[in-house]
């Protein structure tokens, strides 16, 4: 059964249309790499799924129910969690408080703090420091932990490697791989194409607000993705 199904989504910012008739389907336990150039609509798509924007047309189905018009807090309760671009932690709250805010809509089998600290020893060390004072890697780990604290079935990750040292990014991706094995579905927006394709079994490419390529990563060749990425046809 599909976990998430987007049907012909049109999303507008005022007069500017950011997404055109986007169809996308994600099965339970599946991970999708969402790639595309800057301004292609990747962040808009994730924010629409999380409920920050309402589509002008089209439908969003999650776990069999229509959530097109549902409020963000309802979607969090249903199991959708977003790790926003730029991390967007609450700067005056401590690392631990940030994670607890992420747990306000937590279901019964959501992650407890102890488990989060076990998976992210990095956060355990800085749990009582204010988010504004954390390093970039610590902030990104807290942002992911904040999303996990709600017990998500679908994790939306927007540019988590931006501005971080490669070693820290490797650690984060290892954690994500473990989550995937544990059964969490993901949509991953990532600039590093090789990393994205390696991390996710399937890939979709956006170009100027339209899905121009979708399929399993293994059967998609890198040159094809690059063509779709830049809109150059060979």
């Amino acid at each position: 059964m599909s976990l998430l199904r987007l049907g012909a989504l049109d999303v507008l910012y005022g007069d500017f249309q950011a997404l055109f008739a986007v169809d996308l389907e994600l099965a339970e336990n599946e991970s999708l790499a969402l790639v595309g150039a800057n301004g292609a609509g990747k962040t808009t798509l994730l924010r629409t799924i999380a409920g920050a924007m309402t589509p002008a047309h089209g439908t969003i189905e999650f776990a069999g129910s229509d959530i097109t018009k549902a409020k963000p807090h309802f979607r969090v309760r249903q199991g959708i969690a977003l790790v926003p671009e730029g991390r967007r932690l609450f700067p005056s709250l401590t690392a631990e408080e940030n994670i607890l805010v992420g747990a306000v809509q937590a279901g019964p089998d959501a992650w407890q703090l102890a488990k989060i600290y076990e998976v992210f020893p990095l956060i355990a060390r800085c749990r009582n420091r204010r988010a504004a004072l954390l390093s970039g890697g610590e902030q990104q780990a807290v942002a992911i932990a904040r999303a996990l604290a709600s017990g998500p079935r679908l994790l939306l990750l927007d540019e988590i490697s931006l501005g971080l040292a490669p070693a820290i990014v490797d650690d984060l991706y290892e954690t994500l791989a473990a989550l995937r094995v544990a059964g969490t579905s993901m949509i991953l927006v990532e600039q590093d194409l090789d990393r994205a394709l390696a991390a996710c079994p399937s890939v979709a490419c956006l170009l100027e607000g339209r899905v121009v390529l979708a399929g399993p990563s293994a059967r998609t060749n890198r040159a094809e993705v690059i063509d779709a990425y830049f809109g150059t046809t060979s």
């Binding site: 924010r47 999380a50 409920g51 920050a52 409020k71 963000p72 807090h73 969090v76 309760r77 969690a81 977003l82 926003p84 967007r88 609450f90 700067p91 005056s92 709250l93 408080e97 940030n98 607890l100 805010v101 992420g102 306000v104 809509q105 904040r146 999303a147 709600s150």
Partner: protein
């Protein structure tokens, strides 16, 4: 010795200013709402206490258990019906709407209660006094006023720093869009914050009504004092607001001791001085 006495009175009065100011600071910090009717809501609290205390024949502070839940409810209703809508209407709408609300409240009070200056019956608390070392006499009412203000500010601080509600409030204050996205229900947060703001304003209004006097148009002055306490103390810090309120009370009483005509002017000058020299507030 009269100077020392004035200083003590100033500190005691400062607690009430801080109590009015904390609601203003909270609504601005969390919702970015500048509530120009805040002082009038405090005056409404005083009038409501007047009605209850004369109907029931009890001192004004006895009516607080009845008054405070009502004020909290009024704040919630106001937020859900008027202020929330105004906040969605752009930057200018809340200023216009709360200004209009202020005019409406003042005129309703004029029509309903007349223009006379009133004062609340403090009962035995108002007559009893205690003599401190050095012959300074303070009324129990003013001491109680300061203690109540300290207790309310302290309780608010605990609620904000260590409850789930407080975390949601602070997260919303930091970044409302992200708070919404991680699952915080912003409408109830805003409504409860408005409820707390109106309840604390009404509480301060009742104590000020017992300590001094009020009339239907007193809200404007209270609003300015509350703003000044917030700015002097520094936005977003409850203890800073308390210190700001005490700075106002001290200035008012000390200058008043010298020449009562300049008491209020001195308060405004202090405020302008802080704005010019340390616009982020003294205590930040």
């Amino acid at each position: 010795m009269t100077w020392l006495n004035a200083a003590v009175q100033g500190i005691l009065l400062g607690g009430e200013y801080a109590l009015i100011a904390c609601g203003l600071s909270l609504t601005f910090g969390v919702m970015r709402l500048v509530n120009l009717a805040h002082g009038d809501l405090a005056v409404c609290g005083a009038y409501l206490a007047l009605v209850f205390s004369s109907a029931l024949g009890v001192p004004a502070w006895w009516t607080l258990p009845l008054l405070l839940p009502l004020a909290f409810g009024a704040g919630v209703v106001l937020q859900l019906s008027v202020l929330g809508r105004a906040l969605r209407g752009g930057d200018l709408a809340p200023v216009l709407v709360t200004f209009g609300l202020s005019v409406v409240i003042e005129n309703l009070l004029l029509v309903g209660a007349g223009a006379n200056t009133r004062s609340l019956d403090g009962g035995r608390l108002a007559q009893a006094s205690v003599e401190l070392a050095g012959g300074i006499v303070v009324s129990w009412l003013r001491v109680t006023g300061l203690l109540v203000a300290l207790a309310v500010l302290g309780a608010l601080q605990v609620l904000l720093s260590s409850t789930s509600w407080g975390r949601s409030v602070r997260a919303t204050s930091d970044d409302v869009d992200t708070a919404r996205l991680v699952g915080v229900r912003v409408r109830p947060v805003f409504a409860t914050v408005a409820g707390v703001a109106v309840a604390t304003a009404a509480l301060a209004g009742v104590f000020l009504g017992m300590i001094s006097a009020f009339d239907p148009l007193a809200g404007g002055t209270l609003l300015i004092f509350a703003f000044e306490a917030v700015v002097i103390g520094g936005l977003g810090s409850l203890w800073g607001t308390l210190a700001g309120g005490i700075a106002l009370g001290l200035t008012q009483q000390l200058v008043g001791e010298w020449n009562s005509q300049y008491a209020v002017l001195a308060v405004h000058l202090l405020f302008l001085l802080v704005l010019a020299v340390r616009p982020q507030g003294i205590f930040r």
